[in-house]
Symmetry: C2
Subunit: 359 residues, 2 copies
DNA sequence: CATTTTTGTTGGATCGATTCAAATTCCGCT
DNA sequence: AGCGGAATTTGAATCGATCCAACAAAAATG
């Protein structure tokens, strides 16, 4: 009878092997996980039986529950999954994370979701030992969701108000000052800022009120850096248009349209991301404006694409790969402490900035 | 006493909540997984207790074992993890896979390993419902390893001898013929081939013997396609140098050196990947040879970078994203059958090919 | 030969949930 | 009050392994 059922779809379990080989499940387990402690003869017999019965090896699902550790880290974002492979910033970051994971043999699980409920479910059911959060649009919700899992997690590249969450970011103020100073020293006096989000789901010109109530303090800090430095040059920062985008094509172009609609177009653009800066370069060229002849642009991030554009982009480079590595290690050797690291930035002068045009 | 131990690190389990709320495990479980079937009053009480005790929600590790399904697909390669974020071909493929996964809410687990033992371990312990295999260097070993898991899997972009493994690839012969015909029609008569691997760990000029014993029949088919077509133009294919590389910079450059060392350099290069073709363009320019003035090049793959190079690359484009989507769906709606799909290719003429130079 | 050590093996407990048949409670109705 | 059926709740079984204390057998020691 039993033999009639053997062809069944039901996968073979370790216990089946043990019974068939006439050993206890303990021993059978040892054959696979610590073969050296079981007598050679027994070991071979069990292995033979396993082979013959078509045993797939200890099922990680079972092992997992016992071991408690998954040996994988989750990387989450509110963007669709393809974000990890499309976005240049994300890619460099992932390279750093990959490096640290490769070194310790940990895996990477990508978590994301088209819609809110799915995001929640995906975060709740991800099989990981901890999370690295890409806090872009919707970052605060992602942080809340993740916190519920009570697993270690690190937020990337944001100044999050909340000092109770671990985070790695860069010195936004210092970076922004570098960018602003460079342009001011080149003689620029009319500026515009292409800004990242201050809060979720907003775009358009930014008011002091928006800045004051910023959720993303990283954005606020960059703006503060720009303004502090420019003030030092006697520039009236209150007059500088600051347009908040979603860091993608559509809203950035809308921002440029709005900025250049005025009678006194800027000669210098401070972009809070290379992405926006690159989009701006394209937009300006299409409009017949020379970069840096008519308008100079400084980006922020230091993604590799910046070096390839024409003209190549002057930017504030974050140590993206290193941030990724550290974030991964923070999760991998988590010790329960909340850590907030601030990395330095590097100023990379390339071709998108030049002297202010003689008015 | 008990209260003294409560601050313990030990995470709270569903059973703890059940006990504290005075309900059975079953009911406690239902509160989280099917809240609608438990009486509102009880539900709220349990939720309150959970909240108050700091319960993280049902642990996916536990659920997993019971449910059996992970709801994630593993993507494996023998390259380091960063391959998924660096390599243009992989990135486009991942975008397709991501799309299918996003649509069904499945996650993606990246599997890879620096060395052989780790690869084995990672494949064996990956928590996934199935695998998509990037079969590049070392693909056959990866297939063997994966087969042992007895999970559904699909091999990508290779003609694998073994008809028992599911695979998705393109019509290599047809694609190669298109490329060869294009060049022959432009008047080219002296060719060289930059080839992908025929077997693992080989580089250098290829002999008929190597071709005959090819492990990667995809490579063999492309070569066959090139040769069939060229023969039709009365070209002696036996004289065409075929250099096998590892599809990266070093060996490709070595191949070019070797190919151009002869007295009769080719006027046309058939590259079996865009990667090699792009490297060749750089190499030729650095050598002072004009593309396509002195040498024409046709790639294979159709990665986005090809459109951006100078000159833009003429190539045989695979429907990479679509392949990724299908591969993911094959795993997601796996029905136990072995499927082998062959997709069509598209010939994309850009700027890297031109008429043969007048000798 | 008796006594310790060493080496291997056993089987129960555990990891953290879900499931389901059976038991119980609740309600409306005659 | 009594009854049937719907709505809830219970508790044991299960998922597939690993761990470990206890035991047994073999080898080394006195």
């Amino acid at each position: 009878m039993a033999s009639l059922l053997e062809g069944q779809a039901r996968p073979i379990r370790l216990a089946d092997i043990a019974k068939a080989a006439g050993v206890s499940h303990g021993t059978a387990s040892n054959v696979f996980s610590r073969p050296e402690i079981v007598r050679a003869e027994v070991r071979e017999r069990v292995k033979a039986v396993a082979e013959q019965m078509g045993y797939a090896g200890p099922d990680p699902k079972g092992r997992l529950l016992r071991a408690g550790k998954v040996n994988a880290i989750g990387v989450a974002t509110t963007e669709p999954l393809s974000y990890f492979f499309d976005d240049p910033f994300a890619r460099v970051m992932m390279a750093g994370i990959s490096e640290a994971c490769d070194a310790t043999g940990a895996g990477i699980a990508l978590v994301s979701a088209a819609n809110q409920e799915k995001l929640a479910w995906n975060v709740q059911s991800a099989l990981v030992d901890g999370f690295i959060l890409f806090c872009i649009e919707g970052g605060s919700r992602l942080v809340d969701l993740t916190r519920e899992r009570r697993l270690p997690f690190v937020a990337l590249e944001l100044g999050f108000q909340d000092e109770t969450v671990s985070a790695i970011g860069v010195d936004n103020v210092a970076g922004a000052r570098l960018a602003a100073r460079h342009l001011a020293e080149l003689g620029h006096r009319r500026f515009a800022v292409l800004s990242l989000g201050f809060a979720d789901n907003r775009t358009g010109f930014v008011t002091p009120e928006v800045v004051r109530s910023a959720v993303y303090t990283g954005t606020r800090d960059r703006l503060a850096g720009y303004f502090e430095e420019l003030s030092g040059f006697g520039i009236d920062t209150a007059k500088i248009p600051v347009y908040e985008t979603e860091n993608e094509e559509k809203s950035t172009r809308a921002g440029l349209e709005a900025i250049f609609a005025s009678g006194q177009p800027p000669t210098a653009i401070l972009a809070m991301s290379d992405r926006m800066a690159l989009i701006a370069i394209d937009w300006l060229r299409a409009r017949g404006l020379a970069v840096p002849g008519d308008v100079s642009i400084v980006g922020f991030d230091g993604v590799p694409d910046g070096a390839l554009s024409t003209p190549p982009l002057t930017t504030i480079a974050q140590p993206i790969t290193e941030i990724g590595r550290r974030a991964a290690r923070m999760i991998l050797d988590h010790d329960g402490a909340v850590r907030r690291e601030t990395m330095g930035v590097e100023f990379v002068v390339r071709g998108s900035t030049g002297p202010a045009p003689k008015a």
